[in-house]
Symmetry: C2
Subunit: 305 residues, 2 copies
């Protein structure tokens, strides 16, 4: 199967510690890199995880709190020094472009590539914000202290597999195979028509990954996340700190797990830990009680889909 | 002797690597912390070196290249979250305040302490920019691609030591000792006057530390740096890369050592290494040939003065 993996570069929260970096992830989908959030130090974590800057094309920012965005100017500065030429696309809520422009102009001067800003909608809805041959990216409505959204990466279903036995039996030339994979049928010299479905069998379904951080508990998102293979959800607080979670518009581990259970996702990965927990086993235990297929995110972790 | 130490938090140059952080240092002078430059990730390095945020009061920025300043907003954000109340003083060239204000307002909102900007003069001269009971800080003229200056920390001479034997002999009461240390003499009940100099002996001279980065070779700075205890000087390039040093307004290791020799400093510490050198022994060797008391800076190093 083609590569679809998620690199956790940072899964701490606002106060950075020596245990956890601020939020950042990189999705490697068929050797194209998509970044979600970019806290301070993200460029170094990319190096640590052997992720090539040249393959990075799109950056999606969930919201404009410092621990999710302050690594971006240093990253752009480095891309400039490395002589990048291909455009870099940044998806963020307003007024990010306005804030960034003077800093990019000053600190990354003579940027040899274009930085394209895409403003994320502020309404709380599902929007298709990016699409290419292999993936669709949708926003996920979240609820935080400022405009915030998650991101749903849905791989497009791969082309169907060709039925080798039929190809051989019908003597179909190799150069026709691609057309058949795309949906065509085949007519023999005798005029007999074989529809597409008889010449192929369906490929695996497209895989999916959802990122939800920062947010308070949004139970209404369950249908939207239904059946995703991996859900990364913030679990900033433990059950005992529930009031603090509600007050700061964050989730508890139990709430993350409840959503995972209601959406019947494949696996749940929790992160965005408050710095108050020296050991996140407590959060893991609370989530696992509700949804057993839960894992703790950690820096350097690579999730294979 | 009272504490005067320099913590090297970053001694790499513009391209961050897994070996070196961008520029940052913290001087601990009698338990008060002064920061010089603040590249990305500096706050984490402070934690790693067990330097307390609450003791940090003044930050001096040599110039406005990203690798010297991009850790500042994340640091201020953290100080805010920690509930700091005492003011933070930042010394930098224009237009730093103008650039920073919108970012601090947006990303560190409701900062519970005042951030006081002090604009550094752009002329290439020695200026006294800060002074308290224990230290004077002067700018050092440098030559770079933009306004840039070094910093000279000169400890004020400590108060003289009291001569215990004289105090006992003359039956001087304990509560008078401080006045005598400050320069007063003493008159006995019989009217005999003992001048200050007979009651004390001189303390050690004040120690001094100079930071010069980023800059091309400035041989005219030798008199100004004459006799400083420790000189930190950038040595971005080796002799073979001299043309590149000249072109980018940086120094070679040999040039740093030449200045150290001409100024007859106590020790030279070199840093701001170009990322092209996997091993800086080459730079150390080139400098040591000219000035033997040379050391390589490294992250976590603590220089005792």
């Amino acid at each position: 199967m083609e590569k679809f993996e998620v690199h956790i570069l940072g899964c701490g929260s606002a106060l950075p510690t020596l245990r956890h970096n601020p939020s950042a992830q990189v999705i490697n989908l068929r050797e194209k890199l998509f970044m979600i959030d970019c806290g301070e130090g993200t460029q170094l974590s990319m190096r640590r995880n052997h992720l090539k800057f040249s393959k990075l094309s799109h950056i999606f920012l969930s919201h404009l709190h410092g621990d999710h965005v302050l690594g971006l100017v240093p990253l752009i500065s480095t891309l400039s020094l490395l002589g990048r030429t291909q455009p870099l696309h940044i998806y963020a809520h307003a007024p990010f472009e306005e804030l960034m422009k003077p800093w990019i102009d000053f600190f990354c001067h003579s940027v040899p590539f274009s930085v394209e800003f895409h403003t994320l909608p502020k309404d709380n809805a599902l929007h298709l914000i990016f699409e290419d041959r292999s993936v669709e990216v949708h926003t996920i409505p979240l609820s935080h202290r400022m405009a915030s959204c998650g991101f749903l990466f849905r791989e497009k279903a791969p082309l169907p597999h060709i039925r080798r036995d039929m190809i051989d039996f019908l003597h179909i030339p190799v150069y026709e195979i691609n057309r058949i994979k795309q949906g065509e049928g085949w007519t023999t010299e005798e005029g007999e028509f074989y529809p597409h479905e008889r010449l192929t069998y369906p490929a695996e379904r497209g895989r999916s990954y959802a990122y939800c951080s920062d947010t308070s508990f949004c139970p209404l998102n369950a249908p939207l996340l239904s059946g995703v293979d991996v859900l990364y959800h913030e679990a900033t607080f433990s059950k005992a700190d529930g009031p603090r979670a509600a007050q700061t518009c964050h989730s508890t581990a139990e709430q993350a797990a409840t959503l995972a259970k209601n959406a019947a996702v494949g696996r749940l990965v929790i992160g965005h830990y408050s710095s108050r927990y020296e050991d996140e086993t407590l959060l893991l235990n609370e989530a696992s009680e509700v949804f057993p297929h839960t894992e703790l995110a950690s820096e350097g972790m690579v999730i294979q889909l």
